[in-house]
């Protein structure tokens, strides 16, 4: 019998971890933890999150997890950030003041631009996601025939163009929906709330883990 990869969901005080753990449990041995030692032993790290950039970084800092996550990511352990967790991968955020992020991906997190009249904010809903030609995009989105994903956000990550693995459009404005560099991935949408497409993306991420 194949041993499932052991992945940790970092619990730093924000987000719906129940749905995420149930979604991942279909493909992996999942542990929710806020302990540095557990994170250091994992085959892959999931950084979830809902909330503000500042609260997210503080949530990591207060648990003493900031350096551990950076170290593991730089050592090549696969990391997937989801929504706020993906934004934290970048160098800086601007929500409630400027704040340093984990700095694993070059770029910043900024507010979505003002939308035309009648286009509501925050972004809440299903959007079609189009993978780019960058390396890593094809593997992350492999086998997803109807690439609709569920987004809830008002800030967005802006990495370098070569790190953008997928794009989406809201109110006529196109922006990055997924990013990746080597072993580090981030998605602005919620795969654990995006039906079969989301489950497939999580499965693709887990399949990329080399034990």
């Amino acid at each position: 019998m194949k041993i499932l990869p052991h992945i940790v969901i970092v619990d730093y005080g924000v987000g719906n971890l129940w749905s995420l753990s149930k979604a991942l449990a279909q493909f992996a041995d999942v542990e929710i933890t806020e302990e540095r030692q557990r994170i250091e032993k994992a085959d892959a790290i999931i950084l979830p999150g809902v909330g503000t950039f500042k609260a997210g970084m503080e949530g990591l800092a207060v648990r003493g997890l900031t350096e551990a996550i950076k170290e593991r990511a730089r050592a090549g352990v696969p990391v997937l950030g989801i929504c706020l967790g993906a934004q934290l991968l970048l160098e800086r955020g601007h929500e409630f003041g400027e704040q340093d992020g984990l700095g694993l991906i070059k770029g910043e997190v900024v507010q979505l631009p003002a939308m035309p009249p009648g286009v509501t904010m925050p972004v809440i809903g299903w959007q079609e996601v189009v993978p780019t030609q960058q390396p890593g995009a094809a593997a992350l989105f492999a086998g997803i025939t109807n690439p609709f994903f569920y987004f809830v956000h008002s800030y967005m990550f802006v990495p370098k163009e070569e790190s953008v693995l997928a794009k989406t459009t809201y109110g006529g404005y196109q922006y990055a929906a997924a990013l990746g560099e080597k072993n580090i991935f981030g998605v602005q949408f919620h795969p654990e709330k995006s039906g079969q497409a989301g489950l497939k993306l999580l499965e693709n991420f887990i399949r990329s883990i080399k034990q």
Partner: protein, 249 residues
Amino acid sequence: MRVIARLDIKGPNVVKTVRTEGLRVVGTPKDLSERYYAEGADELVYMDIVASLYQRNLDFEQLKSVSENVFIPLTAGGGIRSLHDIGMALRSGADKIAINTYAIKDPEFIRKAAEVYGPQCIVLSVEAKKTGEGKWEALTDGGRERTGIDALEWIRRGISLGAGEILLTSIDADGTRKGYDLDLIKEVTSFSSVPVIAHGGAGTPADMVEAARAGVEAVCASSLFHYSLASFNQVKGALTEAKYPVRTI
């Protein structure tokens, strides 16, 4: 356009009320939510319709069992009256929290909840009853209690306090299957800066297209799906034909 199925929960069952009076059991929360997920619902609303009246909490264990195999957004509501309740519901699989009765008693609760969990998490559930031409009153406790509060003013205030979405139920239309209260919807969408979900009265896919034309970002129904009056595919087909983009599965 999002297509949402609503489950009204009483104890172990999903029930359907007609104008908050007659009450019929239509299934279990777990069976129906898994069925609607598989059939293409974009989102679910899980509403305990008696929790507020009896001052009970949501059944968080039931909510967990409902959400464990359902990987679409879930809004939970009924009897929510503290930040702790919200935290518990979010840890049980909910993504958004619908608040009505307690918000009317303590409007500041909306602001506090939005500050902690973000506006995108806080859905203002409004049960509107028509009282005259262009006038609606906001009701509480599952449409049982009058408040004397003007529903449109209340929605404006709720948005300014931080509600990220409006779940707009017409108590008059609910359960009639004769279509949404389009006048009410048009009034609210004319000023709302946040998404509005139409609820109450949908009997056909055409009713949902009408709500879309009236400016909502999501349509919600219960009877329509409970009694298989139309499938999610049929609803989405009608919306697509009317040029409202929908998610396909």
